[in-house]
């Protein structure tokens, strides 16, 4: 086809048909990729996948846990500390303020509170 001219729809169809005939005639030789160095390199360098590792969906759950674990424990800690402080007799305002304190500081405060006056 001359350079610069676009294929018409018919030409395009004919080319596909010719290619398909060629493919049908020629017995294509496909080999296992296990011994192919290019594919092994492609897997590790481009996709970042181990050729022999069967991924068990771990990636997804690991990323979920990574994002939620820290947040969840902190949230639980804050909630339980708040209810503890309320039980001891602190007001809601005081308990809200104290729930973010360090463990030692809370203990000191609790000891001070429980001391008989």
């Amino acid at each position: 086809m001359p350079k610069g001219r676009k294929r018409t729809e018919e030409e395009y169809e004919r080319e596909i048909e010719e290619a398909s005939k060629r493919i049908r005639k020629k017995k294509e030789n496909i080999k296992t990729a296990r011994t192919n160095a290019t594919w092994q390199e492609y897997l590790t360098d481009v996709l970042g996948v181990s050729p022999k590792a069967l991924d068990n969906g771990k990636d997804f759950w690991e990323s979920v846990r990574e994002r939620t674990l820290e947040f969840d424990t902190r949230a639980i800690q804050r909630r339980s500390r708040y209810s503890e402080l309320r039980k001891v007799g602190y007001t809601a305002k005081e308990a809200r303020r104290m729930r973010d304190w360090s463990e030692d500081k809370v203990e000191l405060e609790l000891a001070r509170k429980s001391k008989p006056k």
Binding site: I30, A33, N36, W39, P51
Partner: protein, 162 residues
């Protein structure tokens, strides 16, 4: 080269063939199990990600790796082990799919993606769509095909318009 003999005109072309390696969707050489290999035609990465995310949920697919193969051209790899007919069904649900890739894949009986880079282009992983579903085959179990071609890829003119 053009030779004219009366009303007859003969044209001769010379092209340099390059050896390329393609990865085939077929698992091993005899089984009817295929990975989902996708070739995208002139689409933006955001459209591709949207399209593949919904496809992943719909067909319960494992992780999908999207790779930039050249400018405005992307490949996607998903290590499924589905029947060829199911692969065709999934591929036909992708509006951005390269049409000639799809048609030639059906004729061949497997789909092939080039893994050797063309001059100046480098493959680069763009996005991994993680999934709760595990891979259905080892990446090692696929097959490869070595071929000679003069195809230099899509012309610069087409991309320059964008």
């Amino acid at each position: 080269m053009i030779i004219r003999i009366g009303k007859l005109q003969l044209r001769a072309y010379a092209t340099i063939l390059e050896k390329r390696i393609g990865i085939c969707s077929q698992k091993d050489t005899r089984e009817d199990k295929h990975a989902l290999l996708i070739d995208f035609d002139n689409s933006s990465i955001s459209t591709i990600i949207n399209s593949l995310s919904s496809l992943q949920k719909k067909y319960k697919l494992p992780a999908i790796y999207i790779v930039a193969s050249s400018k405005h051209s992307y490949h996607a790899y998903c290590f499924t082990a589905r029947k060829f007919m199911e692969i065709i069904h999934i591929l036909s649900d992708i509006p951005e799919l390269d049409e000639s890739y799809f048609r030639l894949g059906i004729i061949r009986g497997y789909f092939t993606l080039r893994i050797t880079s063309r001059k100046g282009d480098k493959f680069k992983l763009v996005k991994t769509l993680v999934s709760v579903y595990p891979n259905e085959m080892l990446p090692d179990s696929l097959t490869v095909n070595e071929y000679l071609t003069s195809n230099k890829g899509k012309g610069g003119k087409r991309h320059a318009k964008r």
